[in-house]
Symmetry: C2
Subunit: 135 residues, 2 copies
């Protein structure tokens, strides 16, 4: 028998910070879209690097203006036992163009794919949910 434990906000954000890969979830050309990316957790925000490409326009509005709402998911789930955890953050996005902010984010992982970076996207963690599945 397995146990499912809902995670509180603090624990969910802590777990999210223990991994560096997740998946950004958004709408692109009116279709649900998802792609893996790298992230860091800074305080209560999730920061991801944006690749150049078509999907950027769907993610962010004008720099400085509020962006759209999107979801970010990361998990660590054993492929055999299927035990582990999953965390989902939902919130407004913001494109970070400020130099000081960018320096503060120096710990951000290198771009994952070989694509030019199109900036850093901050996701405000308005809604944080997660669960842990134990034996």
């Amino acid at each position: 028998m397995r146990s499912t434990q809902q995670l509180d906000r603090a624990e969910a954000l802590r777990l999210l910070g223990t991994v560096s890969l997740g998946r950004i979830v958004f709408t692109h050309q009116a279709l649900p879209a998802i792609r893996p990316t790298s992230h860091v957790v800074a305080g209560e925000d999730v920061l991801v690097r944006l690749d150049e490409g078509a999907s950027r326009a769907s993610l962010v509005a004008t720099p400085g203006e509020p962006g759209i709402v999107l979801a970010y998911e990361a998990d660590a789930i054993d492929p055999e036992t299927h035990l582990g955890w999953s965390v989902v953050v939902v919130g407004y996005t913001e494109l970070i163009a400020d130099r000081d902010e960018a320096e503060r984010l120096a710990a951000l992982p290198d771009p994952w794919r070989n694509q030019p970076s199109a900036g850093v996207l901050r996701i405000r963690s308005e809604l944080v949910t997660g669960f842990r599945l134990g034996p």
Copy 2:
């Protein structure tokens, strides 16, 4: 230097079939939503188990009627090197209520979480994309 290789449809579906966990991406209460689930690949379709719960209503229409479009993602990415692959399937959903169909799907993995099953959802693989990131 890393190499990014786009996957063709056949290779992407093949890789998807080599893992049993992925993430279903949909819209719930006008917000982007994602949750991990188990799947199998049957021909060109992706089959996932539905849990009872609020999100079911967002995923499927009336049984027999065409469902909404959603995305399904699975990947196998090394947490250290970040090398691996990711596959995304986008397509219409269909709730499978037919007994014969259900028997044909006997290979479907057990429900992942301890929640009553609410049926099997078939995702028609209309759009299949993926990439492999190598050294």
